[in-house]
Symmetry: C2
Subunit: 507 residues, 2 copies
């Protein structure tokens, strides 16, 4: 047995960067026969503590028998590599971790106990520090789903989620924001709402996410027009100068625990109400919002499927939002079909630009939805009288003021460019004549993703028909856009073998 | 983009064995920039379906940017490699998996619905087929812990766990078995109980596990004396000839889902009552047991910590066992200190042999515990009148009949050998004189593991003092045994810095 294995303080192995993307799960790989592992009695899938100078993490251990890793090496996932802040070859100390104290409170919650403020903060801190394995995160999320958190618990959770991340402060009493609970392709209202309310002298420092499971996130769409990866100082100056921004929030660490929880929720495929509330509000509190309008599309293939669920969620958001001094207004909207014609980063960007330009071919539904949300924000923020918000918002678009503001913001963020156009397209014809009865939003999103969105920005789907339209046999219902023949063929094959748009006889 | 990526049926990559031990979690690693992944839009941590001929699995995808894996390769964990039954270079088809239907029932259970028989069987089948990621297993276990399964649900679960594995059939109406709920070092009664009841012409086809988190499992201990990795035909013939066996059950696929659930429960560190009942009974039903005696040690550092918990667990085991026509008797025993003097495979084996040989230095507590359990089995099986089981068991030991039977079984399993003896030992002295007041079973086990047990069979701890013993200052409380100086130093360092045995003043 080698010397390092003999003294507990000598449990050191040379760090090796594997370039292994495990998302934010922390993974370390060692040789099963490494002296350190043998003397420590580590087994595959054990939780181990890694220490590099002052930094330390708890990671999941996998073991190899092959020469993939050297006997004196320790391979790290990208997530672990970054958290440990190591350089190639640095000696990292590996040992048994102390039990994570907050986990016993989480276990208690499974058995019916609530988490008090201290326990909730300890839990969120440990999650932020990467001390929870995915199974622990699943245990926590399950416990919250099994017994819906009460408003106190939810408030503590949101506060804790905000506390472990960055928080934007603004020299204004009114900071507006909007959010869509999602599940609806297209519906790219954010750039329009920002431009409209900023044109009316409200401050809207909008940070958005990139797509995770959808064909496009707002950040992906805006990125086809201007730069979105702003640092916080740049974001501040853009907002101070133009009243709004459209930035990617991913790198800003606003409620970073939310991103971790969302990843595991996606794997579990659960959307517990309490968790949705904590997710939305923690991000908005961290962004410094005081007035928030929420778009909750309801439809059988949207995220929220019934009016009843939407109303319960709305009530919860408004009550808990008030705990943080946030005025929240929820708009329950039609989620039966996509909003706008484009699905995919560039195609949605073209829709946005068409609305701003008051072009003939602009998608009226996207314009209407944006006016609705912006109008609600103008009223909520006290800039417009009840009932006046809509007309004011419409006016900002019609007058071109919103467009000017949009372009000013883009230039301030790094310049204005034309979104790309796909090289490969294919029209999808209707199998028979009739009336468009139904859209499967999930499958439509899948077609856009198979076509290459969001990775290929010009890829996606462009809709020619809407619910209620009469179509002839052979008439194009939508066009698939792709940047490669392979992806086009692939998306087309899926579209041809799965019902995407339902065309029926006369009602 | 390469051709394979263009047609969905062409999504094939060459299998590469990574020798990566992820326990039974199925993991696949590809290059992030591989055309297949790009066209499929796979992201790190996605669940993917892998197909090789008729076999297919769902695995968790990790992605590398480094040259660790080739562009046209797909690296597989050992678990995935074996389930897929591939050879190096075989083309494996990778695609998006169908949603796992049973997961929606599990989600429903989190929200308060029970699983009906069909749903429970579907769930256990999917787990057995490796379709659940660890987060899904954690979700299932959390849902069962949050709302304790009723007897019907538990019965369905046990039946399903038995159905997906092998099941031993025996040409006798009475098949006895025993099990210890564990958490107590030493307590190696199984070989003694098997020998005693077999000597009284009962059949006890005992299958045991290897240590997972403890310093020794029964299989590890018996393996220092004879062979334990028997196949089912060999096991049958040993039992037919001698009435008992002491085999490793790990390779027999008796309730294989239990092993999967236990691994994740360990990570979650939960021992939900219902889960314990399902775990024990599913293994015993699969082994064909009709009469079962359970040893439930109670103590502050044992698995079951209060008399009340033990009694609830006992009631549950007896009720649900009856659903399977199994007579279950639970013995609640003293779990305050180890049973026997040895902790570690060989040291426990020496204890067992000393009892069988009626040697002077035999551990009386181990003998008494074994007589208690064997006696209870003799009575439960109707071989002994009430109150007569103990004396009959003691008699089998005293007469040497148990020893003869033990040796016959060992010879039939592959021969009888002397357990090894450690090359390195160190006595741990008492810091002061007084009476032994307390043992920390968990830390004692940790010392034995750091000394090398069970990997190093001769390693472990040998106790010289018991609760209530008066000891002098400097007198050895226990001796650490190891096979290497490094491990000895390591275990010693831990023992010296952690309170293992508490010696106090006069009561």
């Amino acid at each position: 047995m080698s010397v390092p294995a003999q003294a507990p303080n000598g449990n050191k192995l040379a760090a090796r960067r594997l370039g292994l993307d495990t998302h934010d799960e922390l993974v370390v790989i060692t040789r099963r026969d490494s002296p350190v592992c043998r003397s420590e009695g580590f087994s595959a899938h054990a939780r181990v503590r890694l220490k590099n100078g002052r930094r330390n993490i708890i990671a999941t251990l996998y073991q190899v028998d092959s020469a993939l890793i050297g006997l004196d090496e320790l391979g790290l996932s990208e997530s672990a590599w970054k958290r440990l802040g190591v350089a190639e070859g640095d000696l990292v100390h590996i040992s048994h971790p102390q039990p994570v104290a907050s986990l016993s409170a989480v276990r208690g919650r499974i058995y019916g106990k609530r988490l008090d403020r201290a326990q909730m903060h300890a839990t969120i801190n440990d999650i932020a520090a990467g001390r929870y394995a995915d199974v622990h995160l699943a245990m926590f999320l399950s416990s919250m789903a099994a017994r819906d958190p009460d408003d106190d618990e939810l408030t503590d959770m949101i506060q804790a989620m905000v506390d472990v991340g960055e928080r934007l402060e603004w020299p204004r009493d009114v900071i507006v924001d909007k959010h869509c609970v999602g599940g609806l392709p297209g519906n790219r209202t954010t750039p329009l709402v920002v431009s409209i309310v900023a044109a009316h002298d409200l401050w809207m420092p909008k940070t958005s996410s990139r797509a995770i499971t959808s064909p496009a996130g707002t950040a992906d769409t805006v990125e086809t027009i201007t730069r979105v990866d702003l640092d916080i100082p740049t974001l501040r100056s853009v907002v101070r100068a133009h009243g709004g921004c459209m930035a990617w929030g991913g790198a800003m660490r606003l409620s970073p625990v939310d991103d971790t929880l969302i990843r595991v929720e996606r794997l579990m495929d659960i959307d517990a109400e309490g968790q949705m509330v904590a997710s939305v509000l923690s991000k908005k509190v961290a962004a410094g919002a005081t007035h928030l309008v929420l778009d909750v599309p309801v439809g059988e293939t949207a995220k929220v499927r019934s009016q009843h669920d939407a109303e319960r969620l709305a009530g919860r958001l408004e009550t808990v939002g008030a705990r943080f001094g946030m005025k929240v207004r929820v708009l329950i909207t039609d989620g039966r079909q996509p909003v706008g014609r484009g699905i995919g980063p560039a195609l949605e960007a073209h829709d946005v630009l068409a609305v701003l330009a008051n072009a003939d071919e602009q998608p009226k539904d996207l314009r209407a939805r944006s006016v609705l949300l912006a109008g609600a924000l103008l009223e909520l923020a006290g800039v417009a009288e009840a009932g006046e918000g809509g007309p004011m918002a419409e006016n900002a678009l019609a007058s071109g003021l919103a467009r000017q503001r949009f372009e000013a913001i883009c230039r301030a963020q790094g310049g204005l460019r034309e979104p790309p156009v796909a090289t490969e397209t294919h029209d999808m014809p209707s199998a028979h004549g009739g009336v468009v009865r139904r859209f499967d939003n999930r499958r439509l999103a899948q077609v856009a993703k198979l076509a290459g969105a969001p990775g290929a920005p010009a890829a996606g789907v462009y809709l020619h028909a809407r619910l209620g339209d009469r179509v002839e046999r052979g008439q194009a219902l939508y066009t698939i856009h792709a940047e490669s023949r392979g992806e086009l063929a692939y998306a087309r094959e899926y579209a041809e073998t799965n019902g995407i748009v339902t065309v029926g006889g006369e009602a």
